[in-house]
Each structure stands twice: as structure tokens, then as C-alpha cells.
Amino acid sequence: MPQPVYLNNAATSFPKPPPLGKEVCSWLDALPFHAGRSGSPARDPLQSCRQKLARILGVADPARIALSRCATESLNIALHGLRLKTPTVLASAAEHNSVLRPLFLLRRMGRIDLHLVPCDGQGRVRRGEWLRLTKELRPALAVLTHASNVTGAVNPVTELFSAVHESGGLTLLDASQTAGLLRLDAGELQSDLLAFTGHKYLLGPTGTGGLYVRPGIDLDPLLTGGTGVRSDLQEMPPEMPMRLEPGTPATPLFAGLAACLDWQEQHPPSRPSMDRILIRLEDGMRRAGAQVIAVSGPRTPIISFTLPGWETADAGLALEKGFGIICRAGLHCAPLIHEALGTLPGGAVRFSLSRFTTDDEVDAAVDAVRRMLHGPR
């Protein structure tokens, strides 16, 4: 069996940068530390991580970034914590369940009226419909994924969120698929809140994520508890980020994420190289006979497809177990997008690349698909 080929980076990135393991272990072996509680290390890894994240997100004040376990937690903090002027909320059919499920729960609790804007056949939100509904409904909040985790199609966030602002609403961007991959600037993107994860294209460990909250927005905390300071208060302190960060933080993991961000700054990914490998994969897949979901315009390094004669789940299993091509098959936790893509009920197989993916790896994936469809060479 040849070496496994990892093409599931939209789920979590692999491999990780060299400093990650060493940095996490050094903090696990060090005297415990939590800023404001005890100890006085030379540097506060949480603060250091927050500063680096602020640079990546184009945020002036690092204190406006609350650290969390993952994007799902960040999105829940935002969606449950906002005090909306009206119950009207707009989102898209391209959203991940980390957005949809909190929204469906809030709807069942009677706290919001939810309106979902459909996608086109590439997985991009229908721009005209979004703008029309924004004008007509004047939502108090609009939530949108920066890029589809199924097709990689990047949404024109600045335009879509500008329209929401013009109608008086707030905006929440799910940047899970783009942080570390695309240049982000929360202000330019018109994002009042921005949720991200550390373990995908920021290359950090699982268990890390965060939420940017624009100055002037006050969220009710989703969780409450100890903060190490202001212990006399009955409720969470008003100051960010501690307002949204109760409990003991995962210091070693965020120290590791900070090391990954440093490494990434010193070794910036080559987008032309990634794009070239993505096109090589896409061309090869089409030649092999895969039905690739075509995406034009800005996109992340994802190819989703189905294989004639193969059920999607079987294709994913055969690729992974039969050929060692580690990928993802099914609905990808984004169930609503598949209607527009025409991939119900089974969903699609997804190959998602990273800066580390090589020509040989994508060639191995194409060869596996070709053999599944046409037999041995």
C-alpha cells in the first residue's frame, strides 16, 4: 500500500508546520500559567496569539478577539449573544451546520425569523436574491460563509454585507474556510463579527478558534464563570476579551497556534503554486471521467465531484481504504447546498488541498479515480 495522500484539508489541515508540536509540548512541560491568575512568564502566549490573529484579520485592537475552542463555538457565542433589534435574520443555503443548527435552534425558541438565500450551481450565494431580500426584509443580522466548504466558491462578502449595513443590520462572517488562505480585513469585508478556526488554513491545532467582535457591539456571554480578575462581580466583566472567555484557557494550544502563525508569516504560501496544483487536479479529474462541480471566479483549493456508477459514500470509502486517498464524502455538514448542486441525496466527494499538497499527490488521486472508473491501466 503506498503512502496515504491527505486531501481533507478543508476539514483539518495536515501536515502541520514543524514548530507546532515542539511549542505545544514546551507549554505542557512548563509551569502552569494563566495571565491575571498566577505566575509571571516572560510572555503571555494568549496575548501573543491574539496579536498575531489581529494582524491576519486586519483588526486594530487584539482585545476584540475572543479565543474559543473552534469556529462552531465562536459562531454560537455570536448567534446566542447578540441582542437583535428585530428577529429577522438572513443567511444562505451554503452555510455549514455550525451556523444552521444554532439558527434553527434560535428559530424554534422563537427568538428569530430565519430567511435563507439560495445558492447557484457553484455553491455561491445568489447575489441578486440576497440584495433583494436585504432591501425588502431589512434583517437585523446577516450571516454568511466566506467560502463554501463544499465547492470552495468564495462569496462577494464586501458587497453583500455593505447592503446589510445600508439597511441597518449587523453582519457575521464565517471565515472557517478562508482564514490563513485569503487576505482578510474585517473592516474591508464589512464584518461586524468574524468567526474563525485555528486548525484549518491557519495550520494550528484542533481546539483553537476565535471570534472578532467590532468595537461597539456587546455580546451576552454564552458561558459564564471565572476570569481570574474582577472576581467581585456577580456577572461577567464587560471588558473584552475576558467577557467571552470564562474558564481556564488552552494555553499550550494557543501557544502552538501562535507558533504556526509565526511560521506562516515567515513562509507565506504561494497562491499561484496552489492554484496551479488545483487546476492540475481538476483537469485530471475531468479527463478521468469524474463529474466535477465547476466553480469559476474566486475559490479555495477544493474540488468536489461524483463518479458515474459509484454511490458517493462508496467512492469515498474506496478512495480512502482502497487507495489511501484521504478525502471526505457525503454532505460535508452543509446539507442545504446540495439541492443547488444537484448532489442530493448522497452529496459529493471532496478533495481539499493545502499549501503542502504536491503534484505527485494529486496525480495519485487522479490515477485512483481513473482506475475506479476504467480499471487498471
Partner: protein
């Protein structure tokens, strides 16, 4: 060879369920063919690890690769409890006996 673990993977759109059955040893050609006796077998021996899918008459589908220690099994919604129990009894009879 023993059945050592059964793990739920996911529920399916049609109301069925998918479970993973893990055995104490790798699945070989003989065990696969015993599982497939009287059923349709799609077999891809040319893959680096040969892939198989067995379609039982009662709607159960068993998928895996030779050399691996687990299979994925799909159970249709209708009579799920009953056919799952029957499948597990059958698997117990088919497992290669320890020498």
C-alpha cells in the same frame, strides 16, 4: 477472529443507519466470500487494497477492503432491529475459528 467493537457512524437520509464493525484480525478473501454467500458481491481486486461491497437481499450492504479489520454496514430502516440482530448472529457463525 472475533468481533471486538460496533460503532455507530451516521444516520442516513432514508432513515437507515450505518455502523462500523471491527474485528480482531484483518479481513481476508475467504471471510469476505463467506459474508457474500448467496448475495451480490461487487469486488475490485485490482485496487491497491481490494475493495468489496456486498448486497444482501434484506437491504443490508457491507463494504470494506481486504486487509482491513473493519467493515461498514448499512441497515435499511424497515425492521432494522430484527435484521441487525440476524446479521450479527450470522457474522458470529461466519467468523473464522481460532486454531
Amino acid at each position: 477472529m472475533d468481533l471486538v467493537e460496533i460503532r455507530e457512524l451516521e444516520d442516513c437520509f432514508d432513515g437507515g443507519s450505518k455502523l462500523e464493525y471491527r474485528f480482531s484480525a484483518a479481513i481476508g478473501d475467504e471471510f469476505m466470500r463467506r459474508m457474500a454467500a448467496g448475495s451480490r458481491l461487487d469486488f475490485f481486486p485490482e485496487f491497491p487494497r481490494p475493495f468489496f461491497k456486498i448486497f444482501h437481499g434484506n437491504g443490508i450492504q457491507v463494504k470494506g477492503v481486504l486487509g482491513d479489520s473493519c467493515v461498514e454496514v448499512y441497515f435499511p430502516r424497515a425492521d432494522m432491529k430484527k435484521i441487525r440482530r440476524q446479521f450479527e448472529e450470522e457474522i458470529g457463525r461466519l467468523l473464522p475459528k481460532r486454531s
